[in-house]
Structures are given as structure tokens and as C-alpha cells.
């Protein structure tokens, strides 16, 4: 209920969307490296992969915590419906993130048990990525609610469709990880990253196509929006396809940073397409952004601080990336 004359809901929807996007892009390549871990050409390559994100992964993961806390602050209904509905999935995601996180610290300390931490890093990253993809699928599917409360069962979120979106995000993150590695490595490690990128791209493209065809059948609201209301919406998948083409061509030209940037673009346009398809529903099929909003004074109180603090957060985060810029050389870490 808002009497203040201007609507903060749009602003907050933008902020939350931005926060989740930051998380997906940044922790996406960390998790992607973990997904690729078992296939890496040897332990030295794994050292390089891990060292390329060791100083920044914790900051990347923090965007997920901001997403959770931000939803509680601005759209509490999303927080209090999604988490009970995805109870088991969230547990799997958290367990995955735990193993992924401690692997950073313990892998280099281990001598004989190093292979165990390789697996902890790989399985943890893969499970977390899959669970996050399933969350996206569940959001497309919608939730059974009664009276602002989740009323479905423990496994409603686990359907063939959400398994597909889960696998899709695993492939997508792996692609982010591979293109990040192209940028941060050299020699045989970079060659390997160049080699696997087209295959990962193919996997992403296949899933992308399957999800696009399947979604309108899952959700009549989306079908309606795609085929009768807004034709401008088709611009977004077209732009995503342009990015996909650019990933492929820049890998062929053996560009250094372009594949990663193009992959980020692909994620961005796909993500915007998803949001545009579901807008204004945040707890589909029933509740809109406005239904899910917290009190106006709470949104305002947090917004004021956020406007001041976020520029600093972005600035020093960018600075840490700058400090650790450049290639990670095999056989040497950050000393």
C-alpha cells in the first residue's frame, strides 16, 4: 500500500533483478570452473583454474546473500513462498556451495587427499548450479499457494521441465567458466578452454531451444505474451542468438576476452527475456510484484542506504578484479 505518490516497486524490481544478474554472471564462472574441473587437463590446470578465482569467489557469492536478504526486504512474499516450496532444492544448493567453498581453502593444504577436494569442488559446484537452474524452472512453472502461503508438496519443484532448466544452467555456467579461463590462462590450458567452448556452446544452444519450445506449453500466460501481445519481446532471444554467434566466431579467431564478454551478453539477454515473459508476476501464477511488496517505508529505508553504499561496493569490487588482473601462470599463484 503506497500513499507516497511515487512507486518504489519498479525501482526495487530493478535492483533485485540487477543483484541476481550480478550473482549469475560472477559466481557463474566460479561454479563453471568447478563443473569443468573433472575434465581439466591435469592438476596443474586445476591449480590455475582455482587460482584465477580464489581472491574473488567469496565476493561473487555474496551477491546471492544480497539477493536473499533483498527479497526479504523488498518482496518478502517471494522469499517466504520460494524457500518453503524449494525446501529440498535449496538444501542441495547450500550443501553444494559449502563443499565448493571449503574446497578453495583445503585443496591446497591437502597432500594425499587432494583428489577428494577436487571432487568436493566439482560435485559441489555442479549440484549448486543444477539446483539454481531448477529454481528458474520452478519460477516458470509457478507455485501452488493459498492465502499468501505455499501449499504444495516437498517435490512439486522437481519435474522433467525443471530438470532440463537445471541441466541448462549447468551447461551455461560451464560455458561462462570456459570463456573466463580463456581470458585468464595461457598455453595448453588456454588451448583446452578454446577446444571445449564450442561443444559447451552447442549444449547450451540445444537446451535453449528445448526450453523455448517447451515453455509456452508449460505456461499459457507466457504463450499469450509471446504470440499475441508484445512482438518486441522477440528482440531479446534474437540478441541472445547474436551473442551466441559471437562466442563461436571469437573462439575461431582465438580472441582473448571477447568470448567471455559475449557469453555474459548471452546470459543477460536470456535473463531479460525470462523477466519480460513473466512480468509482473513474481510468484506465478497468482501474485504480482505489488502483491509481494513489503511496506513502502521499509523499501524506502533500505533504498536510501543502498544508493549510497552500492557505488562503493561496485568500486572496490572492480578494484579487486583490477589488482588480480592478467593471466594466471602455471606453477605460480598469488604471492
Amino acid at each position: 500500500m503506497n500513499e507516497a505518490g511515487f512507486d518504489l516497486v519498479y525501482i526495487w524490481a530493478g535492483i533485485i533483478a540487477f543483484g541476481i544478474m550480478m550473482y549469475v554472471l560472477m559466481d557463474g564462472f566460479d561454479l563453471g570452473l568447478g563443473i569443468l574441473f573433472p575434465f581439466a587437463p591435469g592438476d596443474e590446470a586445476r591449480d590455475v583454474m582455482m587460482n584465477s578465482v580464489a581472491p574473488v569467489w567469496d565476493g561473487n557469492e555474496t551477491w546471492l546473500v544480497l539477493g536473499g536478504a533483498g527479497l526479504l526486504a523488498a518482496f518478502p512474499l517471494v522469499y517466504s513462498v520460494f524457500l518453503p516450496a524449494l525446501y529440498i532444492g535449496v538444501f542441495l544448493m547450500l550443501a553444494g556451495l559449502i563443499f565448493r567453498g571449503i574446497a578453495f581453502e583445503f585443496r591446497f593444504k591437502a597432500k594425499t587427499s587432494r583428489y577428494l577436494w577436487n571432487w568436493a569442488f566439482a560435485i559441489g559446484s555442479t549440484v549448486a548450479a543444477f539446483a539454481q537452474g531448477a529454481v528458474v524452472g520452478t519460477y516458470i512453472q509457478g507455485f501452488a499457494t493459498e492465502n499468501m502461503i505455499y501449499s504444495g508438496g516437498a517435490f512439486d519443484w522437481l519435474t522433467p521441465f525443471t530438470v532440463l532448466t537445471g541441466l541448462g544452467l549447468v551447461a551455461g555456467y560451464a560455458l561462462l567458466g570456459a570463456t573466463w579461463l580463456i581470458m585468464k590462462s595461457e598455453g595448453y590450458i588456454q588451448d583446452w578452454a578454446y577446444k571445449i567452448t564450442p561443444w559447451l556452446l552447442l549444449a547450451v544452444l540445444v537446451v535453449f531451444a528445448l526450453i523455448s519450445v517447451w515453455t509456452p506449453f508449460i505456461d499459457p500466460f507466457v504463450a499469450e505474451r509471446w504470440f499475441s501481445q508484445v512482438s518486441v519481446i522477440w528482440l531479446l532471444p534474437v540478441l541472445a542468438l547474436v551473442c551466441i554467434w559471437r562466442i563461436w566466431s571469437s573462439v575461431r579467431q582465438r580472441r582473448n576476452g571477447t568470448p567471455f564478454v559475449a557469453t555474459m551478453g548471452m546470459f543477460l539477454f536470456t535473463y531479460l527475456g525470462l523477466l519480460a515473459s513473466k512480468f509482473p508476476y513474481v510468484v506465478p501464477p497468482t501474485y504480482t510484484l505489488w502483491d509481494a511488496s513489503s511496506a513502502h517505508e521499509s523499501q524506502l529505508f533500505l533504498l536510501i542506504g543502498l544508493i549510497f553504499v552500492i557505488p562503493f561496493v561496485l568500486a572496490y569490487t572492480a578494484w579487486t578484479y583490477w589488482v588480480f588482473r592478467g593471466k594466471v601462470k602455471a606453477g605460480e599463484g598469488y604471492h
Binding site: 591449480d47 580464489a54 574473488v56 567469496d58 565476493g59 557469492e61 555474496t62 546471492l64 546473500v65 544480497l66 536473499g68 536478504a69 533483498g70 526479504l72 526486504a73 523488498a74 518478502p76 522469499y79 517466504s80 513462498v81 518453503p84 516450496a85 525446501y87 529440498i88 535449496v90 538444501f91 547450500l94 550443501a95 556451495l97 559449502i98 567453498g101 571449503i102 578453495f104 581453502e105 583445503f106 585443496r107 591446497f108 593444504k109 597432500k111 502461503i149 505455499y150 504444495g152 516437498a154 513489503s294 511496506a295 517505508e297 521499509s298 529505508f301 533500505l302 542506504g305 561496493v313 572496490y316 569490487t317 578494484w319 579487486t320 589488482v323 588480480f324 599463484g333 598469488y334 604471492h335
Partner: protein, 467 residues
């Protein structure tokens, strides 16, 4: 047997929050210590400070890592198991927890990366600045989370409309009546934890006669710190107790094991509280002392549990005994802190075997005290989630079944057991390697130099010194 999702969720929350709390309570104190060491190194250029800082940074990295991974669980725990509570309190707790992420977590994460991996990539002044930012971040974090927690104990600055909380005054809600006492009590607890761990580890090195010079410095510094903060914590604890008496009298009644409101109440040293019969068995106490402590009068009136119906009483046994454990550990800390002052004569604090062994054993006690203290305050709030406004039953997730709650509880216990076992194992390895090179590094020398991680840094250092 019917599985109760409320009880299981409470057990789960107690377990995940306890497992989480032991890490920040240590890293808050240790972050400040590392910032001091980095500052001393920056000012004096004395390599001893750098060696100490590098050593403690490795410990910090492991403990902070475990704090991060268990902390991320906490940010979702409210929504998964307590969704009604989350939804009702979101207008206050949402912004407060978001401010914690914005003003603390990002700061800690970004600057810790530079602190751990950037020593040779940034100027020394910037490195010292990063150490300060990490330390400041840990304090900002404790500010917000303790604001959220104390608000649940002493809610203020809100009104309830249609079952939802609306904030009427942000300053009253954030700085609610028990906020400052909790904040300082916890801040001192963090310094005590950091202090006793540093003292214990330094003592162990002195006993082994390894790197005596630098660890003697560390021990001396830490003992000065403990001399002031151990007694200060006793005073702070007393102030906290009086605050609780004012706002949550039933919690204090449970702490004292006092069933009936009466005058001249004894301070019980031992008792077996029996909630069913509303009485204690085997009481041993000091007459009138509880009245004196709580009311500063031998015949002061102390509230009793019989003022509220049985279903509104906390689990008296847990509160009663956890409180006694916390106080006993606190007294033991004071004994060691004061003994440290007397042992300074002739430098015996760094040589006396009984004193050093005592300190070594004391290293685990702050964690016991912290967990016991949280157990007192949290179980003492029962049956309330938000004191006298919302119960556990009203706050739990409606769609949660006992089976689901049990599944995740077992899951977390398994995952955390693995994490904890590995963490302790690698911490021990860091301690074994120490701040100096070990004599025998053959297996390491045969391998190419590998990137820095906590335990390796010491080796690389050692290897370089050897070469």
C-alpha cells in the same frame, strides 16, 4: 512417533546457528589482531610482526572460510523453516539483514581477497588498509545481526497490523532496549575468544620452544588485552543480566532456577530443575545472593517462573545449566588474565610450564562460553520467537513436514561434521608447520612451487628462507 516440524526446526536452527557462531566470534577478534600486527609492521618495518601476521592470516583464512559457508546457510534458514516469521517480520528484518550484506559482507569478502593474495600486488599501505577494512567489516556485521537478534528479544519501534509488523521508528527498532548490552557483551566475547586462542597457541609454541621470540611477543600483547577485557566482560555480563531482568524476567527466573517470586533469593550453585513439579531437587546455594546481585539489596524481590503458565516457561534445565557453565568459564578467564599480570615478574609468563599448559587448555573455553551464552538467551526466549508477540508455532513454515525437517537436519549434521573434521585437521597442520620452516621439507621441495593457500604460505616462506 509423530515427527514434530517445530521441534525439529528449532533443533536445526540451534545446530546451524551454533556451528556458524563459533567462527565469526573468533574471526572478529582475530581480524582486529591481524590489523594491529599489519599496522605495527607498516610503522616499524620489523619483520617479526609480518611473520606473526602471515601465520595468523593462515589460521584466519581457514576459520573465515568455514564462517562464510555456514553463514550462507543462515541467510536462507529463516525462509525455509520459518517462513511465516519471515513474512511477518520482513518489514524490519529484511532491511536490517540487507544492510548487513551491503555494509559488511561485501567489504569483508573483497578486502580479504587482497589481504590473503595481494601482499606483493599492492603497496604495503594498501595491504594494511585491507586488513583494517576486514576488521571493520566484521564489526559492522555483528552490529546488524545483533540488532536483528536483540529486536526478537526486545521488540520495539514497530506496530502490528493484520498480523504483520510495520516499522514506526527505525532508530527505536534498530537500537532496541537490549541492543547495546548485547553488542558490547558479544564484542568483548569476540576479543576474549581471539585473545585466548592466540594466547593458547603462543603458549604451545613456547612450550615446544619454537620461534620463541615472536610468540613471546604475541603472548605478552594478548595477556595485556585479556587483563582488561576479562574483568570488563564480568561487568558487562552483569549489566546484560539486569537488562534481561527488566525486559525478560522469565528468562532470569530460569537462569536463577527461581520458581516462585520471593524476597532474599539464594544464588544456586547446583540444582536439578524439575519443570513438571515446578521445583528444584538437590539445591545448593548461597543465601540471599541472587537478590543482592539482581536488586542490589539482600531482600530484593526476584521474579519467579510461576508468574506465567507452564506452557510459557522456557526449558528451565537448559537455561539454568548453560548459564552456570558460561559464568564458570568467565571466572576462569579472569583468573588466568590476572595470573598473567603476576607472572610478568621475571618473565615467567613465557617460561612457566603450568601457566603455559593452562593457557593451552584455555584456548577452547571461549567457544564453550559463547555457545552456552547463546543457549541461555535463545532457549530463554522460548516459547517466543518475537518476545511475547509471536511463538515458534506461529512462525514455522506451514508446508513443512516432520520428514522434510528431519531430512535436512540429518543432512546438515553430516555436511557440517565433514567440514568441521577437515577444518580442524588442516588447522592442526597449519599449527604444526608454524611460522618457521620445518627442518624436513623433502616431499615439498621436490614439487614445483604451488600457489598460495594458507598452509602453503608458511612452507613457501620456509623454503625460500632455506634456499
Amino acid at each position: 512417533m509423530e515427527l514434530d516440524p517445530i521441534l525439529l526446526s528449532r533443533i536445526q536452527f540451534a545446530f546451524v546457528v551454533s556451528f556458524h557462531a563459533i567462527f565469526p566470534v573468533f574471526t572478529i577478534g582475530l581480524a582486529s589482531y591481524i590489523a594491529v600486527l599489519e599496522g605495527l609492521f607498516y610503522k616499524t618495518g620489523n619483520k617479526d610482526w609480518e611473520r606473526l601476521s602471515k601465520f595468523w592470516l593462515q589460521v584466519f583464512a581457514v576459520v573465515f572460510g568455514m564462517g562464510v559457508v555456514s553463514g550462507i546457510v543462515m541467510s536462507f534458514q529463516f525462509g525455509t523453516n520459518w517462513s511465516n516469521f519471515s513474512y511477518a517480520t520482513a518489514n524490519f528484518l529484511g532491511p536490517v539483514l540487507s544492510y548487513e550484506v551491503l555494509t559488511a559482507f561485501f567489504l569483508e569478502a573483497a578486502f580479504l581477497g587482497v589481504l590473503l593474495f595481494g601482499r606483493d600486488k599492492v603497496p604495503q599501505g594498501v595491504h594494511f588498509f585491507s586488513a583494517m577494512m576486514v576488521a571493520i567489516g566484521t564489526f559492522i556485521s555483528s552490529f546488524w545481526i545483533l540488532s536483528a537478534n536483540s529486536w526478537m528479544h526486545t521488540p520495539a519501534g514497530v506496530e502490528i497490523r493484520e498480523g504483520l509488523f510495520y516499522v514506526t521508528s527505525w532508530s527505536e527498532a534498530i537500537f532496541n532496549p537490549s541492543f547495546w548490552v548485547r553488542f558490547f557483551h558479544m564484542g568483548l566475547a569476540s576479543f576474549l575468544t581471539g585473545g585466548f586462542v592466540v594466547a593458547g597457541v603462543s603458549a604451545w609454541y613456547l612450550l615446544c620452544k619454537r620461534d620463541v621470540e615472536i610468540h613471546k611477543k604475541a603472548l605478552s600483547m594478548t595477556l595485556w588485552l585479556l587483563l582488561f577485557i576479562a574483568p570488563a566482560q564480568v561487568v558487562m555480563g552483569d549489566i546484560h543480566g539486569l537488562n534481561t531482568l527488566e525486559h525478560q524476567p522469565m528468562k532470569v527466573a530460569a537462569m536463577e532456577g527461581n520458581w516462585e517470586t520471593s524476597r532474599g533469593v539464594p544464588l544456586l550453585l547446583f540444582a536439578i530443575p524439575d519443570k513438571e513439579n515446578q521445583t528444584n531437587h538437590f539445591e545448593v546455594g548461597i543465601p540471599k545472593l541472587a537478590s543482592l546481585i539482581l536488586k542490589h539489596d539482600w531482600d530484593g524481590e526476584v521474579p519467579g517462573l510461576n508468574e506465567v503458565p507452564v506452557e510459557e516457561q522456557p526449558v528451565v534445565g537448559i537455561v539454568f545449566w548453560a548459564f552456570r557453565i558460561m559464568v564458570a568459564v568467565g571466572m576462569l578467564m579472569v583468573v588466568f588474565a590476572v595470573a598473567g599480570l603476576f607472572m610478568r615478574k621475571g618473565g615467567r609468563y613465557a617460561t612457566s610450564p603450568w601457566f603455559l599448559n593452562g593457557l593451552r587448555l584455555m584456548a577452547v573455553t571461549p567457544f564453550i562460553a559463547v555457545l552456552a551464552g547463546w543457549l541461555v538467551t535463545e532457549t530463554g526466549r522460548a516459547p517466543w520467537l518475537v518476545y511475547e508477540v509471536m511463538t515458534h508455532a506461529e512462525g514455522v513454515t506451514p508446508s513443512l513436514t516432520g520428514g522434510m525437517a528431519l531430512f535436512t537436519l540429518i543432512g546438515y549434521i553430516l555436511v557440517y561434521s565433514l567440514v568441521f573434521a577437515a577444518g580442524i585437521y588442516y588447522l592442526m597442520r597449519v599449527l604444526r608447520v608454524g611460522a618457521e620452516p620445518e627442518a624436513d621439507k623433502k616431499d615439498h621441495l621436490q614439487r614445483p612451487k604451488r600457489p598460495l593457500s594458507g598452509a602453503d604460505a608458511a612452507w613457501e616462506e620456509g623454503v625460500e628462507n632455506h634456499e
